[in-house]
Structure formats: C-alpha cells, structure tokens
C-alpha cells in the first residue's frame, strides 16, 4: 500500500472521528443554549408583565382612584395593564403569549381554559411550588411555557373580589355581580402563564449546527488537499525519483548521471546528499575494481 494511501486513510479516519465528536458536542451545546434562550425569553416576558403589574398598582392605580368613583377604569387593574401591554408586543411577536388565567375571573377574557386550569390545580395541590416549566404542542408549533401561581396575599385584592357588596359599585356596574367574587386570603386563584415558541430558537440552533458542520468539512477538505500536495511535492516525488536512480545505480546503469539536485536542507535534502555521496563512492570503487 502506497504511503499516500496510508496517509489519506488515517487522515480520513481522524477527520471522520473529529467531525463526529465536534458535531455531537456542538449540537448538544447549541440545543442547550437554544432551550436556555427560550426559558430566558419566557422569564423576560414574565418579568415584564410583573413590572407592568407593579407599575400599575403602585403608580397608575392611585392616580385613577378618584376617577374610579365615577366610572370603572380597567386601566387601574394590574392584570389588565399587563395584558394590554403584552397585546402590543404580540403585534410584532404573535407566537408569544401572556395570560393571567384565573378560575373565577372578573374579566371573562382571563378565564382559564382546560390546560391552564390543570396548571392552576397543580399549584393548588402543591402551594409551595414557585414555578412550573413545560412544553406543549400548539397550532403554531411547539411552545414552552412558564407558569407562576397567583395567590391572594394583600387585602387590597379582596377590596374588589371578596363580595359584591364590598366591591366598588363601578366595578359591579361594568362586569356584573356573577363573576370574580368570593376570593379568599392566601387562595391560589390562578396562574400567570407565559408561552414562547420553541421552534424559532431550535431552528436557529439547527441552522447554526449545519453551518458549523459544513464549515468544518470545508476546512478539513482544504487541509486534506493541502497536505496531499505537500506530501506529493516534498516527500513522495523526490523519494520516488531517488529510489528510481538508486535502482539504476544498484544495477550498474547510468553511473555517470549527474548528481541529484539538492533543493532543500530538510530530511529529504540530507537523504539526497547522502545518496550523492554514496553514488560517488560507488563510482570510485567501481573504477578502482576496473583499474
């Protein structure tokens, strides 16, 4: 088997092993990063919603207190403002969603649907659970959700949601007396649920993986060609010529051929010089024998 064949077989084997190992590690890394990005996105959405809620309850609500005596303004309700702000965000990112899913809401749009109600019940069964993360299939593709329990911890909540008689008249006037009452202190009444699509970050990770693998293959191919050319010009070709001349000299032919030209100082050059010296010695020895 020729040297170049052996060399290339080893090279290809190393290349395939390297490509496989790099592919596995990079794919794992990219997929993990994609998931972390999805969770981070969901957390950012959740924190934005919480910030909107806090801003509404501490700053907007007090300003509207007097107006609320005339007409109920949902803008003073933290859940409403969080939903409204997120609705604006959804115009640009329709696959994202935020919902304050409540089992017995004042505003019907906050009523929990089946899977959301399941989450609320899970929180009710494990009230110390701070967060829940999961994935589900939606018509728009697979999505990851983060849910946090909504627990009544302040008397201010009960001002509007304890009994119809205690609630602001303007609130009852707007939403009626049927829903959103009977809440109790420390009760988990719902869950804040953020859903973010997993397809986009995963697809981005897959694209990054493909690009990386193709780039790696191209680099290996370039190295393969370069190494083969170097091997051919620097080792195989001079050694082949040297071995052919050595064959001729060993059979007593072409003894007066000029010295092999020494072009480099590397190992091949040293071998050539040694061969030239050996050929000269051989020619002199032959002349002495003939004389």
């Amino acid at each position: 088997m020729k040297l170049i064949v052996k060399f290339n077989l080893v090279f290809i084997l190393v290349f395939l092993l390297g490509l496989g190992a790099a592919g596995y590690v990079s794919n794992e890394l990219l997929q993990r990063n994609a998931r972390e990005e999805i969770v981070l996105n969901a957390r950012i959405v959740m924190e934005s919603a919480l910030a909107a809620r806090a801003y509404t309850s501490t700053q907007v609500g007090p300003l509207l207190q007097t107006q609320m005596k005339y007409k109920f303004l949902p803008q003073s309700v933290p859940a409403y403002s969080a939903n409204e702000i997120f609705d604006v965000v959804r115009k640009k990112f329709p696959e994202y969603s935020y919902k304050e899913a409540v089992l017995n809401p004042t505003n019907p749009r906050n009523r929990a649907n089946d899977w959301e109600a399941d989450i609320v019940h899970q929180f009710r069964n494990a009230s110390d659970r701070p967060e829940m993360i999961g994935e589900r299939d939606t018509p728009a593709g697979r999505s990851l959700y983060i849910a946090r329990p909504m627990q009544i911890k302040a008397d201010a909540c009960l001002y509007c949601h304890s009994t119809v008689d205690a609630a602001p008249k303007t609130l009852v006037e707007k939403y009626g007396p049927a829903n959103g009452f009977g809440w109790k202190m420390n009760e988990i009444i719902g869950a804040q649920i953020v859903s973010v699509p997993t397809d986009v970050p995963v697809a981005r990770a897959n694209r990054a993986f493909q690009t990386f693998m193709v780039s790696l293959t191209v680099v290996f191919a370039f190295i393969f060609v370069a190494l083969n050319l170097m091997l051919w010009y620097m080792v195989i070709r001079p050694v082949t010529r040297l071995s052919r001349l050595a064959d001729q000299v060993s059979q007593g032919e072409n003894m007066d051929a000029p010295d092999f030209e020494v072009k480099s100082g590397d190992e091949i050059g040293v071998l050539t010089q040694s061969f030239n010296r050996m050929k000269k010695s051989l020619v002199q020895a032959m002349k002495m024998l003939e004389g």
Binding site: T66, Q67, K69, Y70, K71, K169, T170, E173
Partner: protein
C-alpha cells in the same frame, strides 16, 4: 445648633403669630387656566393667580377656563368653564369657611375637613359639604351633586338629604329631587375633565405671594345682569353695592328696562315715589330748579 429649653419657648411664642397669620389666609386663586373675570366693588378685573378672594367677589370663569381657590387648611374650590360664583361671606379662621352662591356652572369642593364651614347655594339646591369632596353641576333649572367622598347635607325644597360618599342627587327643572347610588352619564358628560381627578395643591407657591387683579373698567349692567336678576336673597344686598352705578345713564336705562326683574331698584331709580306724602307734595310744588 442646640437651643436652650427656655429659648425654645421664646421662639415658639414668636412663631405663633406667624403661623396664625398663615392659617388665617383667605382662599387664594392658585390655579387659573383661560380667561376669568372678577367683579370687586363696582369694578371689573381680570383674575390672575395669587389673588385672595374677598367677601362680595363675583367670579366668572370663561367658557374654556378653569380656576381653583385653595384655603390654608387644604380645602379647595374648583370652578369649571362658564361658572359664575358670588362669595357672599368669607369669614377667616383656621378652617375653610365661606358662603357662596353659584348661578351656573360646575364646582368641585374638596379637602373639606370636619371643622370647615362651607355653604354653596344654587338656584336648585343648597349644599353644606361636611367632609371630603363633592362635585356639582348647575345648568338652568337642572342641578346635580355627587359626593365623591365624605358627606354633605343638601337642601332642595321641600326635602333635605344627608348624602354619603358615592351618592348622587339630581333635580330637573321643578321636579322632585332624587338620590341614587351612581352618578348619571349626563352628569359625568357635563363635568369638566379635570374634576375627575383630585384637585392639585399649589398653595405653597402663593402662600407668601399675593397678586392683585388687573383692573379693566367699571361694571356695566350686562356684567352683573345675572346677579341683579338672581333670587331675592342674593340680589337685594347688591342694590347698595351697585347704587353708585345708577348714575351712569347706560346702567340706569338698563335698570329701568329690566325693573320688573329687580323691583328693589325702584326706590333708587325713582326716589320721589317713596317720599312721605307731605314731602312729595312739596317736591311736586317746588320749582323745577330745586328738584334734584
């Protein structure tokens, strides 16, 4: 720096009159948007922020204006667009006090403490805000009041009502007044937008800075016509105030033309009709040159 205890008492005693003077400040115009007029004495002025309200002041807010008067104790009276109000009396004291008459417009009285003595009369009802904030709108023969917070007593003949926070009184034309638990949409539509929010306090800015209104001219009949034709209890005390204006031929002719609306001006316009019989006979027999 530490002050010796006896000196603290001296400082405190020295500060008392200053604090008392601040507390006794009359209502001050602390917020004005748009044009607003003031009739003080027999002169018409343009209102500016910082003017102190006086008893007898007639305040008229332009159709797009808004004004807020603040008392030193935190009470405030805001007048909406097109509101006309007469300060019948303004006793000074530590708490807001005053007797006002509003012929038309929208008024918000807020920050009323239990010690305040305020009374607002209108052609439809009379209101005594007891505490908190209340808003009233008066247009023609219609009048409504909403108690935003606190309570108020309201008299609308023949009934009297003790209104609580959240209650709404309304009376249309000469119909019987009704009390309901929610303000009507018509009332809210008629309310100035600014009245839906708490009245801002800008008293600190004008506490030590009194401004004088800008004089325009002496009042014409048209300037005070509404008040001269007001209910008898309001318009009668105004006769002595505007008597000097009867010397103005234009004012006098307008008084004569509208005498049926304010017959109390008859003795001013035609004093000879009210002389004792013998004096009247003498006056009738006297030569014209002696007649004034």
């Amino acid at each position: 720096m530490r002050v010796a205890p006896p000196l603290r008492w001296v400082f405190a005693l020295l500060a008392c009159p200053v604090l008392a003077a601040a507390a006794d400040l009359p209502a001050t115009l602390t917020l004005l948007e748009g044009p607003a007029g003031l009739v003080r004495g027999v002169t018409r002025y343009a209102l500016v922020e910082g003017v102190r309200m006086q008893a007898g002041d007639i305040i008229e807010i332009g159709d797009k204006g808004l004004a807020e008067f603040e008392f030193p104790d935190g009470a405030a009276i805001a007048m909406g667009p097109g509101t006309r109000m007469l300060a019948i009396s303004m006793p000074r004291g530590r708490s807001a006090a005053g007797d006002f008459h509003v012929t038309a417009g929208a008024l918000k009285v807020s920050g009323v403490s239990k010690d305040a003595r305020l009374r607002v009369s209108t052609p439809v009802f009379t209101l005594w805000p007891a505490e908190g904030a209340s808003v009233m709108v008066v247009r023609g023969g219609d009048g409504s009041v909403f108690i935003e917070s606190g309570s108020a007593r309201l008299a609308a003949a023949p009934a009297t009502h003790n209104l609580k926070s959240g209650e709404f009184f309304s009376r249309k034309d000469a119909q019987k007044g009704t009390v309901s638990q929610r303000p009507s949409q018509a009332f809210m539509d008629a309310m100035p937008k600014a009245f839906f929010d708490p009245l801002p306090s800008r008293m600190a800015r004008y506490k030590d800075r009194e401004a004088q209104p800008r004089r325009i001219e002496e009042v014409s009949y048209a300037d005070v016509e509404v008040w001269l034709k007001a209910p008898a209890g309001i318009r009668r005390p105004l006769v002595a105030r505007f008597e000097s204006r009867a010397d103005d031929p234009k004012f006098r002719s307008a008084l004569e033309a509208n005498l049926r609306f304010h017959p109390e001006w008859d003795p001013i316009l035609y004093p000879e009709k009210y002389l004792p019989p013998e004096t009247a006979a003498e006056s009738a027999g006297a030569p014209p040159a002696a007649k004034k």
